[in-house]
């Protein structure tokens, strides 16, 4: 079933609106489009001018998905694109700079939105550093919360401010905004790796800086290698394609402390209705990630 909708003055043909893309939870494509429409004032600045990697689930989260780095050739003329380098080649990527592009992308069932840490115009300049905290077997999001809080305190010793969001899966992402044109991925990788290794040395039972599966068991893997021009991170406010439509959602540090103390991992999983409610009340906690200028010391 198709429906022509007008989004921000443009006509868009939306398809399969009644299709339940999260069947074990119950979340239709219409609900997904509505979530993205309402979250868009907060989400769009974080997608702006970044080469989008689509992760599409045309038959829902329980069926096959595929990544799409190329902006589909059948895109409407008004979709902004950028030429980006990819494995020695150039490809045309979508830039989601406005609401109608966002709705068009979601109509393609790209439930997850993944973007690089750099903007398309300056692909070698990350505007943030990220610590991707990924719990291994027998570790959970509460272990990630402990590591995130240690990171916050360590960063503050270095006069750096970090911002935390849930991954929407089992992990947490700590962003350190930089927003300086001098920054390179070489810098962010070197810094994040050194921090990860120092944490591993000081908290060997809790942290590993190594990707090997056996090292990760019962520990939190700090994936510093995400600080790379070729890598993407799931965008803040993006849905995740799990059983339930959890959101990659920003948390206040005090909130994270409380949740960690309450020992209740469920509090760290945010559903769309809750996400909209919280973000409409208190605004975008990740706003500063796009604006705050910080310099990595001792490089």
């Amino acid at each position: 079933m198709k429906k022509v909708a007008e989004v921000a003055g443009r006509k868009l043909t939306l398809s399969n609106l009644e299709k339940d893309l999260y069947p074990s939870f119950g979340f239709t494509k219409a609900q997904i489009l509505e979530y993205y429409r309402r979250i868009s004032p907060f989400l769009l600045p974080h997608l702006h001018d970044r080469a989008l990697t689509l992760k599409r689930y045309p038959e829902g989260v329980e069926k096959e998905f595929f990544f799409e780095k190329r902006c589909p050739a059948y895109r409407p003329a008004w979709v902004t694109t950028a030429e980006v380098a990819h494995g020695g080649e150039s490809l045309t990527a979508c830039l989601v700079n406005d609401l109608h592009t966002l709705i068009w992308v979601e109509n393609l069932a790209s439930l997850e939105l993944h973007v690089p840490l750099a903007r398309a115009a300056s692909p070698e300049t990350p505007d943030a550093l990220v610590f991707d905290l990924d719990p291994g077997e027998q570790a959970d999001i509460l272990a990630c919360a402990r590591v995130a809080l240690i990171l916050r305190d360590l960063l503050s010793q270095l006069r750096l401010k970090g911002y935390v969001k849930t991954s929407g899966l089992k992990g947490l992402h700590v962003y350190v905004p930089l927003n300086r044109p001098e920054t390179t991925f070489g810098d962010t990788k070197k810094f994040s790796k050194a921090v990860a290794e120092v944490l591993q040395r000081n908290y060997p039972d809790l942290v590993t800086a190594k990707m090997a599966k056996e090292e990760r068991k019962k520990r939190v893997f700090i994936n510093w290698s995400q600080n790379d021009a070729a890598k993407t991170m799931v965008c803040v406010y993006s849905l995740r394609a799990r059983e339930k439509p959890f959101v990659s959602f920003p948390l206040a540090w005090e909130e994270l402390e409380d949740f960690a103390e309450q020992d209740d991992p469920e509090r760290l999983h945010v559903l769309p209705a809750d996400a909209l409610d919280r973000v409409e009340k208190r605004g975008d906690l990740f706003r500063d990630v796009l604006a705050k200028k910080q310099q990595l010391p001792y490089l």
Binding site: F66, F67, G87, E137, I150, D153, L154, Q157, L158, K190, F191, K193, A194, V195, E197, V198, L199, R201, N202, K210, M211, A212, K213, R216, S225, A230, K231, P297, Y298, L299
Partner: protein, 281 residues
């Protein structure tokens, strides 16, 4: 941490049944037929003569490692994210889980049960897959020797089915120079058909045939494989020996993933901040 690499060159001669030191058991169990059951160990019979090299990074001699990378996501894929796919058409696969494969694995058995005896000459060498030796385990020596002797006299090989690892093999057991050897055999469906290879029969003349027969007779001699050395291998070993004498060995760098590899100042500052942070917490 790094293993001290000893300066060791590959052995020059191939393994023979008597060389206990080179023998490493692959499997232990019993070989049996009729009322005989002999405890034995399976060991490999050949050490491939190929001299193998490691690939090193030209700049620092680090041994290079292979990684499993997803080209789509451009990242290394951990084992828990891997699954087997059987390709049915380009980019189309049928998924098979480890559990499914395990459920199909043959039941492990501890015996090589000889079910019939055959004349090995009847087996075309095309069926030979991989040779092993069977070595007697304590308590089995006498029966083992008896079996070796009887099989040598009968000039027959025992045919058996035998489970090794995940597979069930068809094997031939025979007496070889006072020991028992075991050759895994290919299953008939693994052998490619030969119809397309052989040209239409009988084109030669009788005269030519008898001339060739004579040539073959004249060139016939006992099989002495020692006459034929692997010349390239010998040359490579000589080259390596020469380099070793000149102490031309290079050392791989210490792999210091354990210790911080970040810049000294940064790591020192981070450690100091960490100490301060722990005090403040």
């Amino acid at each position: 941490m790094k293993n001290k690499r000893s300066l060791r060159l590959p052995a020059k001669s191939s393994a023979t049944p008597g060389r206990e030191t080179a023998l490493q058991g692959i499997w232990t169990g019993t070989i049996s037929f009729s009322l005989v059951a002999i405890p034995v160990q399976l060991v490999k019979a050949i050490e491939p003569g190929r001299v193998s090299f490691h690939l090193l990074h030209r700049r620092d001699y680090s041994p290079l490692s292979r990684r499993m990378v997803c080209p789509k996501e451009e990242r290394e894929v951990p084992p828990e994210e891997m699954i087997r796919g059987y390709e049915i058409a380009p980019d189309k696969y049928i998924l098979v889980t480890d559990e499914e494969l395990e459920s199909l694995a043959p039941e492990r058995s501890r015996t090589i049960e000889i079910v019939e005896f055959i004349a090995l000459e009847e087996v075309d060498p095309i069926y030979y897959d991989h040779p092993y030796y069977l070595v007697p385990l304590p308590g089995g020596e006498k029966a083992y020797q008896l079996l070796v002797e009887v099989m040598r006299r009968a000039n027959k090989a025992g045919l058996a089915k035998f489970v090794l690892g995940e597979r069930e093999y068809l094997v031939a057991v025979k007496s070889t120079q006072g020991a028992l050897s075991l050759i895994t055999l290919h299953y008939p469906e693994e052998i490619l058909p030969e119809e397309d290879i052989a040209p239409p029969a009988d084109t030669g003349e009788a005269g030519e045939k008898s001339r060739l027969m004579k040539v073959i007779k004249g060139m016939t001699s006992p099989f002495h494989p020692a006459k034929y050395a692997d010349a390239r291998r010998e040359k490579i070993l000589k080259l390596l020996e020469g380099k070793l004498k000149k102490r031309a060995a290079v050392e791989a760098p210490e792999v210091t993933e354990e210790e911080g590899t970040g810049p000294v100042d940064l790591v020192a500052v981070l450690e100091a901040s960490m100490r301060k942070m722990k005090k403040d917490r």
